[in-house]
Symmetry: D2
Subunit: 367 residues, 4 copies
């Protein structure tokens, strides 16, 4: 992270010209810079929001490192809270000035995939993920929201930006692990890795009615947070044989649901080895390189195992529902917002976030 010398860090001092905004632009691996770019104008069915809070995702770090490819010139980031700045033609039921949360995934609602309930795969594989991937993203002062009618979720007055910002991606993703696994009341669950997504997966397993929840994590701060989010036990994979310990804690059965929240061969494999026959491996990780399925814990294909993957559910209804969970005190993710930065300091924020030092979990960025 220390090598992106192109970052223009003094931008805030420059007087703001008409119709431009500051935005974090990706120019190539390890090259991001906070720049002035035009404020977008909404087309038919679109909206522009003024960002009031955003954050950095692990995926953004992958993008920065060149591990996930996006086009140079793209504004990155996909977790926006803001205020409606301008509404395009055809968007109804909203007015300028309303506070809104927009999910990281912005489905159109009207293509074959959306009309099949595969909103995240809107228009094709991973097609729902547009912000900071195929269109300009949220680490900016303004953001154009496509398919605004389907994606602007009004924020209840009772909730602060900080209370809802993490719903845009990590909460929606994390909670979906237990949902996609169809975790039932009384199921046992193990959650591999307690980074931001894994912590939300832990919270999600709790919300969905798991009995015993076992976290797997070596970092003590994250282990402690895992307990706060609902884990009964946190196993340190550096200090014990996690699979054996999970078997022991489940009377030899294995867990009903194993959640993979990191994206490595090791965690995937351990998750599978921890499962009971008939259990479900719910995978949230982004894998690179190779992924192999060990044959023995897979019962050679005869174990009635399920492996399910989920891309962050989006759309305004998902956001509304998650905000209702916060509103009714079922979920509080503010402890995960460990650090706060101004947009001007976003490159510092990236450095800290990528370092995983100082107990950082998620960083709040205020334009």
């Amino acid at each position: 992270m220390g090598t992106h010398q192109n970052v223009v860090e003094k931008m805030a001092q420059i007087p703001k010209p008409n119709g431009t905004m500051r935005a974090l632009v990706f120019h190539g691996p390890n090259q991001i810079s906070l720049e002035r770019v035009p404020i977008p104008k909404p087309g038919v069915g679109e909206a522009v929001i003024r960002i009031t809070l955003t954050t950095i995702c692990g995926t953004d770090v992958h993008i920065l490192k060149g591990e996930y490819k996006v086009r140079p010139g793209l504004v990155i980031g996909h977790e926006p809270v803001g205020v409606i700045h301008e509404l395009g033609e055809g968007v109804t039921g909203y007015r300028e000035g309303e506070r809104v949360l927009v999910g990281a995934i912005t489905p159109c609602g009207q293509c074959s995939d959306c009309l099949s309930g595969r909103w995240s795969q809107c228009g094709g594989p991973i097609g729902g993920w547009k912000f900071g991937n195929t269109i300009h993203g949220a680490q900016a002062e303004y953001l154009l929201v496509p398919h605004a009618q389907a994606n602007l979720a009004k924020i209840p007055d009772e909730l602060t930006d900080e209370q809802v910002i993490l719903l845009a991606d990590i909460a929606s993703t994390g909670i979906s692990a237990a949902e996609s696994a169809e975790l039932k009341i009384g199921d046992t669950a193990a959650v591999f890795a307690q980074g931001p997504i894994g912590l939300c997966a832990t919270a999600g397993a709790r919300l969905k009615g798991a009995s015993l929840i076992i976290g797997v994590e070596s970092d003590p701060a994250r282990a402690a947070m895992a307990k706060r989010m609902g884990a009964d036990v946190v196993l340190n994979f550096k200090e014990c044989d996690v699979v054996a310990e999970i078997r022991r804690l489940t009377d030899g059965r294995g867990v009903d649901v194993a959640i993979e929240a990191l994206g490595t061969q090791e965690t995937f494999e351990s998750a599978l080895r921890s499962l009971k026959a008939g259990g479900t491996l719910s995978s949230l990780g982004v894998y690179s390189g190779k992924l192999s399925v060990p044959i023995e814990p897979f019962a050679a294909g005869l174990g009635d195992h399920k492996i399910v993957t989920t891309l962050c559910p989006g759309g305004k209804e998902r956001m509304r529902r998650l905000m209702a969970m916060v509103l009714h005190k079922r979920l509080d993710l503010t402890p995960l917002l460990t650090h706060h930065f101004k947009l001007d300091q976003i490159t510092e924020a990236y450095e800290l976030f990528a370092s995983r030092l100082q107990g950082v979990l998620k960083v709040a960025i205020r334009p």
Copy 2:
């Protein structure tokens, strides 16, 4: 309740003859008596347990009043915690002296219905409910458990009898309301009536991830307990228009899931009127007389509504899973055990329980 003069109340003082036990026998409407009857002997696949704790169910009161018909001479009650006294041939993996919980519903596991996953309807309609219905029940010192292999659930050492007794029926039934409704994280729920079953339904909606939970109840003690079990709001139907209030609390939408936990036309109808289109009415009540579906809130059959009914899920695996929920502190129903009696005092217990006085919710009966 005061009229069953036949009750032999002094039985405890009589020296216990060989091979007999005290049991509450139903002789006809308003005629129950604590009598000496033979201790049962287990046949093939059966077990006999010595009861250490039991309780009285609303259904037992229906039986006593003659509203639900069972044969005279039957020992009633269907909520047993006990110790294995004798095992019949073919029952393996158990030994005498082990503490067990047995569900109110005792499926065989081996008929077409059970093998279709309809365990409660084992062998035909309501066939899973045997104790105190088609075979002798649990308000006795000993209990013959049919299909013991499928129904003896070992109690973890960490848990007391009091912590698990309510799982046999009311918790399994109550929690099933949200399960059968397939309540999703973020759904809103209303629970009509906060008696023992309704209170567990409230707990179940919470466990399954409801956002806003609205209880409906006029009794202040039950309303208070509803909040303890997870309700955010409790509406007193004597003081407000419940349906209108539920609409207001849900921004005019209506709830996703309405749970009926009483068994009357009024609650059924209010539940339906509270639902959003596409919502689910999950019914636990036992209805008598007539039940009619109001056409307008049913959208004349075009509202994508679902009405689902559930008979208490049973079997040892259900009990194991519910005990795991208690063990891991997801569920604590001991506050519902408001009163304690000895088996000798069971007719007093019936009187109190049926009266709904003194804040009674459930009574613990110790042989």
Copy 3:
């Protein structure tokens, strides 16, 4: 039907003025007339199609009789096949001249209901049904399609208008009965009433893997068509005790799925009486007056029964999938198109259709 004297039947001879079209306008109970009205212009997100084939639904007859209320002045009908005439702003991926099928239900895809998968209840109860209900309908030369992006389904070249017209409503509705019931391979099903919807429900039960399918119908022509659509047996309720016979045919079990396709107390009740415990009553009928649930076959609420209702699934993806079923020869509904009329003859068509004479099932109307 003979009393609506206002119908202008000679319209076809009148030279077509610029920008007007013929359309069947509802003016009040038993008052419909084919009139000249302006050809609609599409707004943002809308399209106008030129109708090439439409039909009359039982619901239209209810509207005509005043049994289902719509506003006077409305063009009725909701089953359109046509050619894209004009596209509004923001509709992409289509061009004028393309042949399209549009479902009777036209969800927006972007409201909370649609984003929850409750497309038929778009924006609120029955909100997805717009054509001939809340906006002008399809018994006309041109039709404005709302939310066109979500609702224009291109017709494969291999298929004729006649092969797809019945997918818009009755096939989508009828097939949904088995889908909503989650009918499983090997389930038995009974379908009460073999009108157009019931015949499609029979076809749907077959498509979804039912083993024994029992139709209930007294009309011989409809009974014969039921067998063609997949019924193994058709029971004439005038000649036998249908419930007893269904029990006999299912070895006393009752059916797994009972489909109600008429909307009367009698058929609803018989459907419930035919069900096994744990079975599902899937209701398609439109009820009026009172609907009551008989307590005994409902097992007083303890039978694990489900009652599910479904409003015709719509949207372009549903239409695409149903057209794929026709294309691959899984479904052929052309035998149901028993009579053909020109738009000028639509009042005759209504009379015939409402009379149920001459073996009429569905009438094709060609503008």
Copy 4:
């Protein structure tokens, strides 16, 4: 197969001693022999049936070759049709002489796994598969059936042994692919490999309502049979790029459900590459060695893909339901019984079956 010199082939001529039967015994890799062994006696809850028809499974060939390990001395085979010879204590509702089908998988119905609906994983991983795996199997004159109450499925008089024998394993397994995938009406499906299991998977996809079904197979006889079982198209992987062709046939979308019915890396990978985002890979194959998941078609874990595996569903209810499908002419697998042998000729039958010559699909073995 030619090397198992130990096979005693002249056994049929030896006079049958009291209480013994002929049975095919596995002694080690490539060592099977038809021997005289004692006729089993049923214990509590068990039954003994006299086999009237059995067959050989691909898994038996794996066992013979030593690729799947079982203990020497075991009678192999797991597909039995027979007549009840003797009933153990506690088995009710049956009488000697009744014709029964028993599934390859014989769940107890009473353990935690069975009571969770994981009947195939009865008592632990693959625990439901007992015949010819952990207890003596069906390639014999008599067979002890464990948990007889849950596993003896009476055969309707209208059906012959030949009509039902293939339901015991390959039909139940094959059809489960579409069931486990939750294939919906209108889904497209591809079935990789059209051996006996794949052919049944093709039939299952058809039964469950697939629109386009694409078989993948190079053997012309199997390809022809695939069409008979319901495939619309059969692709020869030796002559075309199967994945590209599947994409082309599905308008670039990929299939909703890809069924793997062979158990190789190649077919698994092609199945995944053929899937649309949000699609389900339903795996029936038995894998050995390594199995790897290609990252790109897996969308790096972000494609909402599901991978589900299924072990043959068993138990008497499954068998009853499949027999109902045959009875009502939804399914006819008799064309797959290409060759007939006597039990004396079983080693010849093994040789032919393993060779895949002479168009062999399944061999009927009559004791």
